[in-house]
Structure formats: structure tokens, C-alpha cells
Subunit: 169 residues, 3 copies
């Protein structure tokens, strides 16, 4: 079975760079499964900056909603990097999909992969309780998605200032 | 002396589930000391969901303000789970009690327990500085309460995506 | 070469107290390099409270902007404590300085120190995405500064409830 590694951490904690390095160390070429969609200029700029950092050893696949399908479709070759679960959740909520069923399907799919997969997610629950009810629901959902995927993953790393701390096993 | 374990982490990081498992592993039946009060429907729903998850091996005690009294009163039998310090602090502030004195009394009480106690708290200080002055004061107080109780506790765990990281000892 | 230790953590996680203890254990007397400026009464009160905690074993230097200069100027004797990078970044942004160049210069300067230096910084990226665009840019910059300095530092510690977790090496 292909090993699965979940990398979590705060914004700008170095998760994506660490995840890219970790993925390429598992094999090359690698597949970058992007969940980001450019809804506004700030996001478009962030996506472009991330892509510019990645070189020719990457093939990019876009999967804003059907992440499990993209994971299964890319299996059998080199390692995959999913970046990231938090934007995926945000897309699912915006599209009014059943995010709990989708997260369950994704976590279940990890066990049937033959090639490795590295997954990036975000810590969003360690600040003050948001005043906005929608933000509270989002951070609850994000935490539950992280827990479910962590349970299914072989390894979980918590990234602080660019360095990984071992959470699981 | 009864062992004391503080479990901290962000919202939906799996703290309560981990704390329940940890408590039951220390002995059964166990006492659940709840600090939550249902001030609104969102909170009422969260309390009901948490209670539904706990089974018959738990006896529930409500202690929105007099947590130290509830801790002392429940001593001598099975393990206790205090869930959580952050809501307790919130109740103390709302009732205009002296939260520093209350936290000191609670921390001091840990040393005189004969049965074990597991304590849940929240990380609320790792986001951007809140614009709201009351929120800034709350996160300062929450951090200080966590430090004081951590100092008194035998073990401190930091929960990430449902898994504990060792902070102390 | 003087050892460098970066201590990060959320608000009121006990970083400053830990950093002061760590610095004094490296030698005495020590130099406290303060980046804080009292822009308002809340900040003035916080600065005064921090100073009151430090004793006669400390000499205080103020460096709201020229942190690298203050670091170099204080080299050659006892250990230095820089408290903190996050306020320094905030001062640089307010003064419209090139914060990336300044962070690069500071990180580079660490390698040429002969006396040890302990550096405090803040985790600000583990809450919900701020609605305010300026706050989002600030948390991005703060995370990048932390990564750059962590890369240059010999040790990185993550402080939770007053206790250090090892991040690097």
C-alpha cells in the first residue's frame, strides 16, 4: 500500500515547501493535485507564486471538488501531493456538497492507493472564537476533516516555522 | 496522589475525545465535570452532542463556576474529567469573579486530589491579534490560566488532529 | 560562534518567561533587546509589566527598527534576548521599511555573533483566515520571517502553556 502523510500547520508555517520536498523524496516525477481555485486576484497571485516554485518534475492536476476521483485517477505511478484539504473543504461548502461524506470517501480512498500521497492541511482553530457564525462552522468542519484524514494517514506532521514535528505515529 | 493530566489544543482538534478515552483508561466509572452552560442554541446543541457521545460509564456533574468545589467533592472514587477550563474562565469573567484567584485555587487543589483528574483546555492565542479589546483580554487570561494549571499538572499534552504530542514532562 | 535559539508560540504561552530563563542560563549579565514601542496605554502597560519582571541581571536596549545593528553592537559579552520579532515586523511595516531585506539581514547576522542570542517570536497563523486584508498580509509576513530566522537558528522551540517542545534540531 502507498504510504500517506498528512502535513498540518498554520498559515505560512512552511507546510507546502515541506510537502513538496517530502513528495519528491518519495519518487519522481510527481503529481501535484491542486484544490485551489482563483476566485479573486489575491488567490490568483498566491496560486501563481506556488506554481512558479515547482519545477518540471511536477505534473499538475486541478481538483477543486472531486478530490477522491483525482486521487484514484492519478494512482499507479509516482507520488501525489494534495494541496490542500482546507481549500477543498471551502469549495465543497461553497458548492453545497455533503462535506462529511466527501471527507469520509477521501479518507477511505487513502487505504486503496498503491502510490504514496502527501496531504497538506491547515490549523485554523487555535485563535480566539470567531464572532462570525459561518467562520465558526468552517473551523469546526476543518478540524473534523483533519481528524478524519489523520486517522486514515500513516504519518501526521505538524509544521512550525518550516520544521516538522511528529504527531503520528 | 492522583495523577493530573492537562490536554490542550485548538477547536475541533479531538481534545474531548482524547480526554474521555484517557480518563476511562484511568478507571471506571468516571465523573464528567462540565463547565459549559447553554447560553444559546448553538451551545445547547454542542453540549447535547458531547453528552450523547458519552455512555453509561459516566456520571455528570455541572460546575460552571465552582470548579474547585466540584473537584474536591468528587474526589475519592474514580477518575474525573474537567471539560473545559476555557468555558470556566468565560463563566468567571461573565460573573465578574476574580479569575486569577479562582485559577490559583484550582491549581492548588490538584495537588490534594487522591483520584486522578484529566483537564481539557483550549489554545486561543495562535491567531492574529484580535481587534476587539475584550477578546484580547480573554485570550491573555486564557493563556495565563493554561500556564498556571500546566505548572501544577503532572502531564501536559498538546492535541493535533486527534493525536497527542507530549509537552510535559 | 554564539548559539542562537528561536522560541515561538501563541500569545501568553509563556514564551518570554521561558526565553528569560534560557538566556540567563547561558550567562550573566544579559542584554535585553526590546523591539516594543508604546503606541498606546495597553502596550505601555504590557512593556512596564515585562520590565518589572526582569531584575538587575539585565541591561535593556531599545531597537524598534534597527534590530540587526543592536544585535551586532551588543555582541562580545553576555547573552542577548531579542523580544520579539513580531513587534519588530509590525514596526518595520508601519515605517514602510523593506521587511524582507531586514529579515534577511537579521538572519544572516546570527551566523556572525560570538555571544549567544535567544529570540522570541509569535505564532499568528493558526486561527481562521482574517477578514481584514492587512491582517492577512501581516500574518503572511510574520510566518515568512519566522521561517527565515528558524532556518538560521541553531535551535527552535515551540512553547505551549509555558513548556518548550523541540522543533529544531
Amino acid at each position: 500500500m502507498g504510504k500517506s502523510i498528512l502535513i498540518t500547520g498554520g498559515a505560512r508555517s512552511g507546510k507546502s515547501t515541506l510537502a513538496e520536498r517530502t513528495t519528491l523524496a518519495l519518487g519522481q516525477p510527481a503529481v501535484y493535485i491542486a484544490t485551489a481555485e482563483a476566485h479573486d486576484p489575491e488567490m490568483a497571485e498566491r496560486i501563481a507564486r506556488h506554481q512558479a516554485r515547482r519545477g518540471a518534475e511536477w505534473r499538475t492536476v486541478s481538483a477543486p471538488l472531486d478530490l477522491t476521483g483525482a486521487l484514484d485517477a492519478s494512482d499507479g505511478g509516482g507520488p501525489r501531493l494534495v494541496d490542500c484539504l482546507t481549500l477543498w473543504l471551502s469549495n465543497l461548502l461553497f458548492a453545497e456538497r455533503d462535506w462529511e461524506a466527501e471527507a469520509e470517501a477521501f479518507a477511505t480512498a487513502l487505504a486503496r492507493q498503491s502510490a504514496p500521497v502527501v496531504i497538506v492541511t491547515n490549523e485554523v482553530g487555535a485563535g480566539i472564537v470567531p464572532e462570525n457564525a459561518l467562520a465558526r462552522r468552517f473551523r469546526d468542519a476543518a478540524g473534523l476533516v483533519n481528524q478524519r484524514v489523520a486517522q486514515a494517514a500513516d504519518e501526521v506532521l505538524f509544521c512550525v516555522s518550516g520544521y516538522p514535528m511528529k504527531v503520528k505515529p
